[in-house]
């Protein structure tokens, strides 16, 4: 079953047994969870006539006792406190409480204590605790995502919150799938190990009754990875539709906010990019920029034809047909404008920042060898005044990640040039990245130059030439998934938690990347799933990264470590 369907089913079950007019109350996290899978018109069909946020509803005092309240919240202590106050002075007729994860007994006590008016009709746990942005891609939208880069001793309580949220999200995914997985993690990452062990404890010891599903089939696999094993993918510029929109404009909960960009008509300032609701987007989300341009042109031509025939109304019959097809026509018009606006904006940005030039060098740094040529190319681009600061920083980082050990003198030269050219560059950021994600810290074979087989494969690819220079990069995740499907994921690099071992090839694999996923990786997952290889992969992370977000996390972690070291 697909993630979006699972969350939709949960919400359907919440609403269907309660008759009459309802009000749905969500908190700031569950709003995202519900909004990506359920639309306002779906809610109206289920007779939910009001949707409120938990914080705003605690401020208003009016009583609407003819409405039945359906609460869908995360079981955090803040929510329980707010709920306590509301139950003490109930505004609605009935209260139906649904929590997105496991409630502690103390929390149930507190709620029962405050329910003096016996307004609560049911208390249920419906495990929809993740944001299902695409059928095989989910995120947890964690705000302070940089915590995974900090050493444990620095901020233990926040780090514990962070890990708890991740474990909650992962367990919710498996409860929704009704399976209990075998857990493996990346050996070199402490945080991956911690999360894997805590999930194992939860699923096999603390709540083993809840997770005890029929084990007739092969158990699925949960693989916990660390973002720092593949720092290259979030730094690269993207050229496939969904990834490109996120890289250049930013997608949040399947919405794109264009308000900061001027001269956009009012109804296109915020648009929805959801593969479930937009057939054109679903067909084109993984296509590269050139193909998208052609497909949009085709769509615009079709639309123009229909518009012309609409203007040519002569008989009453034509009029009748026009009125019949008007809703369809309006929807198509909206869709066409949306995609045309997005592609126009992105083309403008590509032109301004000279991204074609920059991205070519980036892809060379990520995929092919040749240190000398790479150094020259990066130096040229650093000297080019048209290249923006963020692009310069990315180029130097990519060079540093690849040629960390070769020719440190030239690396130093690049650092100095970068500091000279970019005013806002915070010194030491690239070195920080190398400390976090350098060659010594990585498990996977990021550049394919560790074992002979990979070197040979790379050479063959170089000789053959690539179809498209801009999309030649394949994320490390792709190789990991291939190893899993061949059953060749090494135990040394990815040990098991507990003493449950995988007997055969798993059929469902959930890969969780601590630190965030990228849309490029989601694309690999989707393309691999569509080849029907017998294994279904699901990808999840703490956030969905683009280069801006990844750099922000790096900077934040760097700043915290520096301030704590100077303070102490």
């Amino acid at each position: 079953m697909v993630l979006v369907t699972l969350v939709r089913d949960y919400i359907n079950r919440m609403l269907q047994d309660i008759s009459g007019m309802k009000v749905l109350i969500l908190d700031s996290q569950t709003v995202s969870i519900v909004s990506v899978v359920y639309s306002q018109s779906d809610l109206l069909k289920k007779e939910v006539f009001l949707v409120e946020l938990m914080d705003s509803i605690s401020k208003s005092k009016e009583s609407m006792s003819h409405l039945k309240a359906v609460y869908f919240l995360r079981p955090t202590s803040e929510n329980i406190q707010l709920l306590r106050r509301q139950l003490a002075n109930p505004r609605f007729g009935e209260y139906h409480l649904f929590f997105s994860n496991i409630l502690k007994d103390t929390q149930i006590h507190i709620l029962a204590d405050s329910d003096e008016h016996e307004a609560v009709q049911q208390v249920q746990e419906f495990y929809a605790d993740f944001v299902a942005v695409d059928p095989c891609h989910f995120t947890l939208n964690i705000f302070s995502n940089h915590l995974y880069m900090l050493p444990v001793a620095m901020d233990p309580s926040n780090l514990q919150h962070y890990c708890d949220r991740i474990v909650d999200g992962i367990s919710a995914v498996f409860l929704a799938l009704k399976r209990r997985p075998i857990i493996r993690y990346q050996r070199t990452s402490d945080i991956a190990k911690r999360i894997a062990q805590e999930s194992g404890k939860l699923m096999y010891q603390q709540e083993s009754g809840l997770f005890d599903f029929r084990r007739a089939e092969i158990s699925p696999l949960l693989l916990v990875l660390d973002r720092r094993d593949d720092p290259v993918t979030p730094l690269l510029n993207q050229w496939t539709y969904q990834a490109m929109v996120h890289e250049l404009l930013g997608i949040q909960d399947n919405k794109v906010d264009l308000r900061t960009i001027g001269s956009i008509p009012k109804d296109q300032q915020e648009v929805v990019l959801s593969s479930e609701q937009d057939a054109f987007f679903k067909a084109n989300m993984y296509e590269n920029f050139g193909d998208i341009g052609m497909n949009i042109k085709k769509m615009v031509d079709e639309f123009q034809q229909i518009a012309k025939s609409n203007q040519n109304i002569q008989t009453v019959e034509d009029m009748a047909k026009f009125v019949d097809n008007y809703p369809e026509y309006r929807k198509m018009h909206g869709n066409v404008s949306k995609h045309v606006t997005l592609v126009t904006e992105m083309s403008k940005i590509v032109e301004e920042r000279k991204l074609m030039l920059v991205s070519q060098t980036e892809q060379e740094l990520a995929c092919n060898g040749g240190q000398g040529a790479a150094f020259e190319a990066v130096t040229n681009l650093l000297n080019n005044d048209n290249v923006s600061d963020i692009d310069r920083l990315r180029l130097v980082m990519l060079y540093a990640l690849r040629y960390e050990k070769e020719s440190p003198v030239q690396l130093m030269q690049l650092f100095n040039k970068l500091a000279a050219k970019s005013a806002k560059y915070k010194p030491g950021l690239v070195q920080f990245l190398l400390k976090q994600a350098g060659v010594d810290k990585r498990t996977g074979d990021l550049y394919g130059n560790r074992d002979l087989l990979n070197i040979a494969r790379n050479m063959a690819r170089g000789l053959k030439g690539v179809e498209n220079v801009y999309t030649q990069h394949q994320p490390l995740l792709f190789q990991t998934m291939e190893s899993i499907s061949k059953g060749r994921l090494r135990d040394v690099d990815y040990p098991y938690v507990g003493n449950h071992y995988q007997q055969a090839r798993p059929q469902d694999v959930v890969i969780f990347i601590v630190g965030g996923t990228t849309y490029e990786e989601a694309r690999s997952v989707a393309l691999l799933n569509s080849t029907n290889s017998g294994i279904r992969f699901i990808l999840g992370g703490t956030a969905i990264l683009n280069s801006k977000r990844f750099l922000k996390d790096l900077e934040e972690a760097h700043r915290q470590i520096r301030s704590s070291s100077t303070g102490v």
Partner: protein, 333 residues
Amino acid sequence: MATRNRTILFRKYRDTLQTVGSPTSNGVRTDKTASQKALNWQLHLCFTPMLPVLMPLSVLKNPPLPGIPYCVASELNRSGAVALGLPPEWVDLSEDVPSNVQRAHAKMAELKKAHAKALMPSFGDGKEDQQRIETLTHEITDLIRRSERKLQRLAAAGPSKDSNVRKNVQHSLASELQSLSMELRKKQSAYLKRLRQQEEGPNGVDFEMNIQGSRSQAEDDDLDDTAFNEHQLTRIKKSEALTTEREQEIQQSVNELAQIMKDLSVLVIDQGTIVDRIDHNIQSVAATVEEGLKQLQKAERTQKHGGMVKCATVLIIMCFIMLVLLFLKEIFF
């Protein structure tokens, strides 16, 4: 998908806490709960026999929960268990619309049967069928128009506490009405098309037969030919007139429906756009409330420092001065 029901545990805790009295709260609460329960029980006994008389239509739709008395006065809410209260009056207004929709659906089924019957070849003129179709179509259009007007009235009363709920109820009812009117239009246009086909059909056949007839009799009288031709022509003209008349009536109702659809399409939410997103609606509510507050503050400020107010005061003072001067002039001169 896995779920877990914690209601039983919750109720157990709630009952134990209420009967024993939680150690953290004061002892007054235990007395209140006991009297609470007694009051509930009494009210239940008093009010249940009167329930069928007092309950409004909207409440009948949602059957009452067992053991909870339906109460009108708010005093009960304070002392007793929270009960599902009575909805405000506009809900009655909005409830009329779904009942109209139901009636319209029933009539549409009848209309479908009448269409089918009228299209079947019959010996008679079929005038009663036509009448019936006309009346049914008019009734349905009438129902839709009335529901639409009620829907507009739903929004008319200014901003109130539950304006969001009203807006959403409006949206959902508008989409139902729109689908209903589209169905009616489709049925009408299909009927019209088939009617036209049929009219051509029998006319064509008649024509052909008459042509044959006229040709076979062409060897006979010329006079007979012209007589047949004339008779033929008048019949064709009459049937044409009838068809055009019928067409006109149907077109009129089509136009009416088109107008209604245009009005409704403003109310209906486009699926798949940003307006259909829950988080967007929540934010826009907050944003419009803030905007409204800002506008109010601005209006207050402009009114206070309004140039208009100053002018008016100055003028009034001038008037008084002139009046005083006039009196003085009268007195001294």
